[in-house]
Symmetry: C2
Subunit: 387 residues, 2 copies
């Protein structure tokens, strides 16, 4: 399936390239077949999502852009949204042609610009594009979008689709958290838990670029030494276990590393005891920033930590910042992609899951559900790739 | 005992007034008998403190000031300090003449200036004086202090000693918390627990003066209606119980009061579930400020409150602010005393405990310990008054 404007036996990629050059009235009457992962009510994610094949207009009008998916990851926030436990709810509509109101799921990914409407100025066929708004619906093979809702990536020759697909949420979150709460200077320390998460890895690398030093907490694990080596290779100064982070005795080791320099920032994506542990490492006046809750445990802190240690606890929600500063968000994504293309920033390990036009609609759906289940099982980051 | 420069049968007060006028070489050789509540190690407060009678120089030199106690309250922080659980520890010395290092306890109170050294310019006999530094040792009947360590109150004709003795800690804390975290405008709402505490009552009144509106949480109690009436008379807009604050159903009542105007500030002196309750009333981006922990329970908040509601949790420790801004603190105390003298601010209910020169040293100690025990038992605010 895929782009069917040219039913002349071209592979989709070839058709895509050709389409990229041929914009005009000739193809006005054609439609494009798109497949999407949609849902119509909240609940257990694997039960709620279903594949949906539909035709979309292949000729973008005015400010519209015809997009073809390159790659889209499955993030925890996407899953929480389908579970109905995410505070931002997408709009259910019938605009995809469903009989009941539905929404195309997925919030992150990268598309290729296939055609542009006559009034589009910010991108051209062949460019890549990231969603520039929330709830874009990235788990679909083709889409018509408003050009204003996109962040076009004009220069992508040194990037892979998977790299570009994963820049919007995690590296940007890390980048923002390292600058929004404390004015850290080169040589300053921060501490984080879940340090091997996508945000954690990004924070290590961004911190290192800025000359910051980091103490990185990961779960106790059999392959701790390998993990330590991996994170150290990204720029982590120290990698420790949750057990070490919770130990009062271990504080002297940390003191020897930092020479008792104040740790003013702690990044928390775990919650529970792990959050308490890293908050105790903070100096007077330090800031604890929560951006995740992998342990699903609430955050507990002694009153004295607030009153006498003057600790400040905050949360960070990138979506809200992006809503308020859409252009800053777009620029940040482009900046980070530039770092990636220059080899200065590494994206984390992923498992790719292929969508192809050779799959039936059912196979398309099953491929996705298998990836989603792997994501729910904690089997690492899953990315859908459309070839 | 007391000031014994004039052993001529004058009452202490008369002697004090006379001394206030006679400064010079005539009395240079006299000494003053002072009694203090001292301790030399941390532990159970009633067991640790003891009375101590000693002579002090009655002729202040250079920048010194001879002070006579008027009144001093017993605050939770004083008790915590003796327990050794307060983060700021006073300096144990032998300067009072004890054989082992000790410290005079008490951090808040008001003295009368009896005599001033030749270089003192900031106060004169007859003025009152508040401690201008931490760990002053207010639980003593007479003292020699550096004039720079005092906050002189020149105009006190409309003030009682008890009013002046209690301005340094609680009203100042309330005043600062209402201005340091959120730029509240007239008509804005705040919420607080422990609303019948000294800080709570101060926040109600200071808030009202600024045109703020308050929702005040107090413990469920048999005399709730009387408490509600009392706090309302101070300016509380609404007074509710902990049970109501914790109830999800009660939210609609609060919404009807506020017309869903955002509550941006919550003041917490309880901790535990009470803190969680009031934090849930906060609007997006709101601030929870902890200044006490009456429940002795840690503060627990959902990760989502931080991430998605953008709640900020802080603590407030007046001592630290005072250490950094000693002159601001002094001015704030004078401003609040002016409000009190104008009848615009009411200090809360207290129990007074009298120290007199007619008491033996042992009676002096027992009077204090009885008051301290009442304070530990939760029998309301205890104030020592020296007559």
């Amino acid at each position: 399936m895929g782009y069917i404007g040219y039913r002349i036996g071209l592979s989709t990629k070839a058709a895509l390239r050709q389409t990229g050059r041929q914009v005009g009235s000739l193809s006005r009457s054609y439609a494009t077949t798109s497949r999407a992962i949609i849902y119509s009510q909240y609940g257990e994610p694997v039960d709620m999502v279903r594949p949906y094949e539909h035709q979309i207009e292949s000729e973008p009008k005015d400010n519209q852009v015809l997009l073809r998916l390159l790659a889209a990851p499955i993030n925890p926030a996407d899953i929480n949204q389908i579970q109905g436990v995410y505070p931002r709810r997408p709009a259910f509509t019938t605009k995809l042609g469903t009989s009941e109101p539905t929404v195309a799921a997925g919030n992150e990914g990268v598309f290729e610009v296939v055609k542009t409407g006559s009034k589009v100025t910010n991108c051209k066929p062949g460019d890549w594009a990231l969603p520039g708004v929330s709830d874009f619906g990235t788990w679909r093979t083709w889409a018509i979008a408003e050009s204003a809702d996109l962040n076009p990536i004009t220069e992508h020759s040194n990037l892979t689709p998977v790299q570009a697909a994963m820049v919007s949420v995690n590296p940007t979150t890390a980048f923002q958290m390292l600058r929004e709460f404390v004015d850290l200077k080169p040589g300053d320390w921060f501490i984080q838990n879940g340090a091997n998460s996508a945000v954690g890895r990004a924070a290590i690398q961004i911190g290192r670029m800025r000359g910051l030093r980091s103490i990185n907490v990961v779960r106790d694990r059999p392959d701790f030494d390998a993990m330590k080596e991996e994170l150290t290779s990204l720029g982590a100064d120290h990698v420790i276990t949750e057990e070490q982070a919770a130990s009062r005795e271990f504080q002297s080791t940390i003191d020897s590393w930092t020479q008792k320099a104040p740790i003013q920032l702690a990044l928390n994506c775990v919650g529970g005891k792990s959050a308490t542990s890293i908050s105790r490492k903070l100096a007077f006046g330090g800031h604890l920033v929560t951006y995740g809750a992998m342990s699903k445990k609430p955050l507990t802190m002694g009153n004295g930590q607030f009153i006498f240690q003057n600790i400040h606890a905050h949360g960070y929600w990138l979506s809200e910042w992006a809503r308020q500063h859409p252009e800053d968000k777009k620029k940040l994504e482009r900046d980070i992609l530039k770092l990636i293309s220059e080899g200065k920033f590494k994206t984390g390990p992923v498992t790719t899951n292929k969508w192809t036009d050779g799959q039936t609609e059912e196979e398309f759906g099953e491929t996705f559900k298998k990836a989603m289940q792997a994501s729910l099982d904690g089997s690492g980051k899953q990315v859908m790739v459309y070839e």
